[in-house]
C-alpha cells in the first residue's frame, strides 16, 4: 500500500506537469490568439497575427512547465500569464 | 555561378572556423596553433561567411539571399565536418 502511495507521490507531479504542458499550454496559446484582437489593427490582420503567435507561445509554455522547480510553480506561471490575456479575451468575446 | 561562389566561401569560412578550435588543431596538426594564427583563422572564417552572405544578398535580395545563405551554410558545415572526419580517419589508420 505504501509503495502505491509512494508511486502516486512520485508520478502525481509529473502527470500534473504533462497536463499543464499539453492542455495549459494550448489554452494559453488559444487565449493569446483571441486577446490579440484588442490591438488597434484591422480584424483580419489581428486574427492572422494571433494564429502566427500561438505556436511560439505554446512551445514557450511547454518549456516553462518543464523547466521550473515544481508542478505548482508551473501552473502558477501559466495562470499569471493567462490572467491578463483572459481579461483581454473576455472583452473581445463580450463585444 | 553566384551559388558556386557562395558555397566555396562558406566551405572556406567553416574550414577556417573549424581549424580555429582547439580540438580540430589537435586532430589535424597534432598540437595547438599559435594564438595569433588561431585568431587570424577565426577572423578570416567569419569574414568569408559574411562575404558569402553579402554576395548572395547583393544578387538575390534579402529574402532569397538569406534563404540561399542558410542552405549554403548548412551544406558547407556538413562538407567541412565530413572532410575533417575523413581526414582524421585516414590519418589515424596510416599512422
Amino acid at each position: 500500500m505504501s509503495s502505491l502511495t509512494d508511486r502516486a507521490w512520485r508520478v502525481g507531479p509529473l502527470v500534473s506537469r504533462i497536463v499543464a504542458a499539453l492542455a495549459g499550454g494550448y489554452a494559453l496559446a488559444a487565449l493569446a490568439s483571441v486577446a490579440v484582437l484588442v490591438l488597434p489593427i484591422s480584424k483580419p490582420q489581428a486574427v492572422i497575427t494571433g494564429m502566427l503567435a500561438s505556436f511560439p507561445i505554446y512551445a514557450g509554455a511547454v518549456i516553462w512547465v518543464f523547466s521550473v522547480r515544481s508542478a505548482t510553480r508551473a501552473w502558477l506561471g501559466l495562470a499569471v500569464v493567462a490572467t491578463p490575456l483572459l481579461v483581454a479575451a473576455w472583452s473581445v468575446w463580450r463585444a | 555561378m553566384s551559388h558556386l561562389v557562395a558555397l566555396v566561401l562558406c566551405v572556406a569560412g567553416f574550414g577556417g572556423l573549424a581549424l580555429a578550435t582547439d580540438r580540430q588543431q589537435h586532430a589535424v596538426f597534432g598540437r595547438a596553433l599559435p594564438e595569433g594564427v588561431t585568431y587570424g583563422l577565426r577572423i578570416a572564417g567569419a569574414a568569408a561567411l559574411l562575404l558569402a552572405l553579402g554576395s548572395l544578398v547583393v544578387r538575390q535580395g534579402w529574402g532569397l539571399g538569406l534563404v540561399m545563405f542558410s542552405g549554403h551554410t548548412s551544406l558547407a558545415s556538413g562538407l567541412v565536418h565530413a572532410t575533417l572526419i575523413g581526414y582524421s580517419r585516414l590519418h589515424s589508420s596510416t599512422r
Binding site: R10, A46, F66 | R23, S74
Partner: protein, 545 residues
C-alpha cells in the same frame, strides 16, 4: 555519467534545468519520432514532387520548353466546359518549368449524384484533353501523406501531423537548451565510440541544419494554423463580408456572388492570361480560377506564379467572365498576412531555382537523419543498461522494432511505390489507389519482418532490400518505358535522368548503411565505463544518459 538519479528521488525536482530539458527532449522526440521521421522523409521527397509526378507519368513527353500558358488555359477551359458543364467553380494550375501537365480541380454541379461534390484531374497541355497516361497520384501521394497521411479523413491526419509538429518544435527548443556546448562542439565527431558517436552524429545533423529545422517545423504549423487555432477567427469574424475579407488575405479568392441563372459563354480565357503574362512574365502565370463559368455573372481570377518570389500571398487579376474586362488587380495583402505568406512560401520552397531546391532537399534530408539518429540513439543509450542484453524488456523491444520498420521499412515502401507505378497493369481499375495500397502493404510487411527477425538481422536485411529496390529502379524504368537513363541523359531530360540517378545514389547510401550495420558490434558494457579519453574527459554532453 554524472547523472544516475536514485530511483527514490522524485523526478523532475531538485535537478538542473538542463536535465529536465534533456528528458523533455528525449520523450517529446520519441513519442512522435516515428511519425516525424515519415513526415520528414516524405516531405523531403516532396521538394521534387512535380519532377516525380512527371517521372511517374512516362507517357507524357518531356517538356523541353514551357508551352504558351495562355493557349493552354483556353484549351483546358474549353474542355472543362464540355466535361463538367454547370460547375459552379473550377481552377487550373497551368504548366510551368516543372510541370508538363495541367492540374484541374472543379466543384461538381449541384445536381451531380456522385456525392463527392468535387473532382480533379490532369490535362494534356497540347490537346486540352485528360492526360492519356497511367492512373497515378504521382509525387502528390508523398506530398499529401506528409501532412495528412492516408486511410483516414484528411481532418484527422492533419490533426495528427499538427500534434507531431508541435512535439517537434518543443523537441528542437529543448534540444538547443540541453546542448550547452553547441559552438565548441560544432565540429566534434568521435568515431567508433558507440553511443557517443551516435550523439555526435545526431548533434551534427541537428546543429548544421538548425535554422532550417526550426523554420520548417514552425512554418509547417503555419500552413494549417487556421485549423489548429481557430479561436481568434471565431471570436472576430462574424459576417460573410468579414469572412471574405479574411479569405482574400490568405488565398486566391473572388467574391462568389450569385449566379444570375442566365447562361452566357465565357469570354476568351486566352486573352485574360495574356494580360497576366504581360504583367508577370511569359511563364509566370500560376492558376486560372473561374466562378460560375457559363453564367452571366461569371468571374475569372488569374494568379501570379510562384517562381522568384518568397511569399505565397495571393496576387491576382480579376476579370468579368462574359466580357473579359479587367475588374481589379490585387498584388498586396496586409502586413500580418504577408508575414504568413512568406512563412508559407518558405515551407513549400516553390520559389526555388534548381540549386536552391537541391539545398532544400539536402538540408531536409539532414533533418530526416536528425530524427532517425535520435530514434536509434534512444535504444543505443538504453542497451548498455539492460540487465540482460539478450532479453530486453517489452518497451525496449517495441522501440527497437518500430525503429526498423519506420526507418528502413519506409525506404522499402517508398521504393515499392515506384515499382508499383511501373509494374501494375495499366488497365487495373482504381490503379492509382493500388499504387498506394502496395506502399502500405509493403510497409506493413516490413513491420512484420522487423518483429519476427532478430533486430540486427532485420536492420541489415531491410537496408539491403531497400538498396536493391532503389538500385534496380533505373533498370526497371529502362525495361518498362521508352525513356531509359542513357536516352534521357542524351536528350538532356534531367527529370528522368535525375530521378534515376537519385535512386542510384540513395541505393548506395542504403548499401553503406547496411554494410556498417552488419559490421556493428554493440560495445560490451565495460566499454561504456572505460571510455573518456583526454579530449572527452569522461563528460557526456548532457544527453541525459
Amino acid at each position: 555519467m554524472s547523472r544516475r538519479t536514485p530511483d527514490e528521488e522524485p523526478r523532475l525536482t531538485g535537478r538542473g534545468i538542463r536535465q529536465s530539458m534533456s528528458d523533455l527532449h528525449s520523450w517529446a522526440g520519441l513519442l512522435c519520432g516515428w511519425i516525424l521521421y515519415a513526415m520528414f522523409l516524405t516531405g523531403t521527397v516532396s521538394y521534387f514532387k512535380d519532377e516525380l509526378s512527371q517521372w511517374m507519368r512516362p507517357e507524357l513527353p518531356y517538356q523541353a520548353q514551357v508551352p504558351d500558358q495562355a493557349a493552354v488555359a483556353q484549351r483546358v477551359a474549353d474542355e472543362l466546359g464540355t466535361l463538367v458543364p454547370g460547375s459552379p467553380q473550377w481552377s487550373l494550375r497551368l504548366p510551368d518549368a516543372r510541370n508538363n501537365s495541367v492540374y484541374a480541380f472543379w466543384r461538381s454541379p449541384a445536381r451531380s449524384a456522385d456525392g463527392r461534390g468535387f473532382g480533379e484531374g490532369q490535362f494534356d497541355p497540347a490537346t486540352g484533353r485528360k492526360v492519356a497516361s497511367r492512373d497515378t497520384l504521382g509525387g502528390d501521394f508523398f506530398f499529401r501523406f506528409h501532412f495528412q497521411f492516408h486511410y483516414m479523413s484528411a481532418l484527422w491526419g492533419r490533426w495528427i501531423a499538427g500534434v507531431a509538429a508541435m512535439f517537434m518544435l518543443v523537441a528542437i527548443v529543448s534540444g538547443v537548451i540541453t546542448h550547452k556546448k553547441i559552438f565548441t562542439d560544432f565540429f566534434t565527431f568521435r568515431w567508433g565510440k558507440g553511443q557517443r558517436s551516435w550523439l555526435d552524429a545526431h548533434n551534427a545533423f541537428s546543429v548544421f541544419g538548425l535554422p532550417f529545422h526550426l523554420m520548417i517545423t514552425y512554418t509547417g504549423l503555419v500552413t494549417l494554423m487556421a485549423m489548429y487555432v481557430p479561436w481568434g477567427e471565431r471570436a472576430a469574424i462574424k459576417t460573410p463580408a468579414e469572412r471574405q475579407q479574411l479569405s482574400a488575405e490568405l488565398s486566391v479568392f473572388i467574391q462568389p456572388g450569385r449566379p444570375s441563372g442566365q447562361p452566357a459563354p465565357l469570354a476568351s480565357v486566352e486573352d485574360m492570361v495574356r494580360q497576366a503574362q504581360a504583367r508577370w512574365g511569359r511563364d509566370n502565370v500560376g492558376r486560372v480560377t473561374a466562378v460560375h463559368p457559363g453564367d452571366a455573372a461569371a468571374r475569372v481570377a488569374v494568379s501570379r506564379g510562384e517562381a522568384g518570389r518568397l511569399s505565397m500571398s495571393p496576387q491576382i487579376m480579376e476579370f468579368e467572365g462574359t466580357t473579359g474586362r479587367l475588374l481589379a488587380v490585387r498584388e498586396s495583402v496586409g502586413p500580418a498576412a504577408e508575414v504568413r505568406g512568406v512563412l508559407y512560401g518558405l515551407h513549400l520552397g516553390r520559389f526555388s531555382d534548381a540549386v536552391t531546391r537541391w539545398l532544400y532537399f539536402l538540408v531536409s534530408f539532414g533533418g530526416t537523419a536528425m530524427v532517425g539518429t535520435g530514434l536509434v540513439m534512444w535504444t543505443v543509450k538504453r542497451r548498455q543498461k539492460l540487465p540482460d542484453p539478450s532479453r530486453p524488456y517489452l518497451g525496449f523491444r517495441l522501440v527497437e522494432r518500430l525503429n526498423i520498420a519506420a526507418i528502413a521499412g519506409l525506404s522499402i515502401a517508398m521504393a515499392a511505390f515506384l515499382w508499383a507505378n511501373r509494374l501494375l497493369p495499366l488497365e487495373l481499375p482504381r490503379r492509382a489507389d493500388w499504387e498506394i495500397h502496395v506502399f502500405f502493404i509493403v510497409w506493413a510487411s516490413a513491420l512484420a519482418h522487423a518483429i519476427l527477425r532478430p533486430a540486427k538481422g532485420a536492420w541489415v536485411e531491410q537496408l539491403w532490400t531497400a538498396a536493391a529496390l532503389l538500385a534496380l529502379v533505373p533498370l526497371l524504368n529502362a525495361v518498362t518505358t521508352q525513356r531509359p537513363l542513357w536516352r534521357s541523359l542524351a536528350q538532356g531530360d534531367w527529370i528522368f535522368a535525375g530521378t534515376d540517378l537519385l535512386c542510384l545514389a540513395l541505393a548506395a547510401l542504403h548499401a553503406v548503411l547496411a554494410l556498417r550495420t552488419a559490421r556493428y558490434r554493440p560495445s560490451p558494457r565495460a566499454a561504456g565505463r572505460a571510455r573518456g579519453g583526454p579530449v572527452a574527459g569522461g563528460k557526456l554532453i548532457e544527453e541525459g544518459a
